[in-house]
Subunit: 146 residues, 2 copies
Amino acid sequence: MKGEPVKYEYQTSLRWTGEKKGILSCEDKPDIMVACPPEFGGHPGIWSPEDIFLASVEICTMTTLLWFTNKENLTLKSYSSEASGTVKMHGGMFQFSSITVKMRIGISSEDDRARVEKMLKKAERACLITNSIQTVVHIESEIVVG
Amino acid sequence: MKGEPVKYEYQTSLRWTGEKKGILSCEDKPDIMVACPPEFGGHPGIWSPEDIFLASVEICTMTTLLWFTNKENLTLKSYSSEASGTVKMHGGMFQFSSITVKMRIGISSEDDRARVEKMLKKAERACLITNSIQTVVHIESEIVVG
């Protein structure tokens, strides 16, 4: 007998606290103060929906790669990334037109390079968030030994 | 002389800290610990890319409405929302298939109801994040006086 299709459910909640600020919550996770960003009449120094959206792509890129490295018993030495995203007007509405994730991956030995490159390609295709958005995501990677 | 088209740039950065966890940073904002969620072999109690993605839609829905209420000099009494998102397999890859944002909006007087309803419709169309994703976003609103 074939089972139900696999599906996962997520929940978050939000409470407006005045001005253009709010408190974001998710079950037993630490609350995050969020706000409309300054360029849309909001507040500096507070996570905006634009930052958070960009971050979701950046984080998922890493966790998807870690899923593959873990599955194939490859241990990375280090991983860091920087993500940038551009918002432009399209058809009278603002939207993210492009996102670039530049990652720097440390490996233990030159022998691991080809495997990591292969996993990176798989991770790029499998990233759940990238597959849920319209924005084109560019991945740039630098793989270094040590 | 016509100026350059309006565009905005966003940046975030991420550093892997071992297991399936990392530290998310954005200029002068507080760092956020993030991780792959338990259902994909990660960690409970830590913000996941799925939570963060869902949150970006929920926050932008609020900030876009606040942009309209502010512009039209209407002051809300309160605003809170709950967002839920479903991830399913599609074409061999997981993606967010749907998101629902249920909001509860407090207004000062019954006289404000029609204006708020009109702004809600505008905000739904103008939400920058909703306009950047493939996932269908359903908005449900309850407007209460007081």
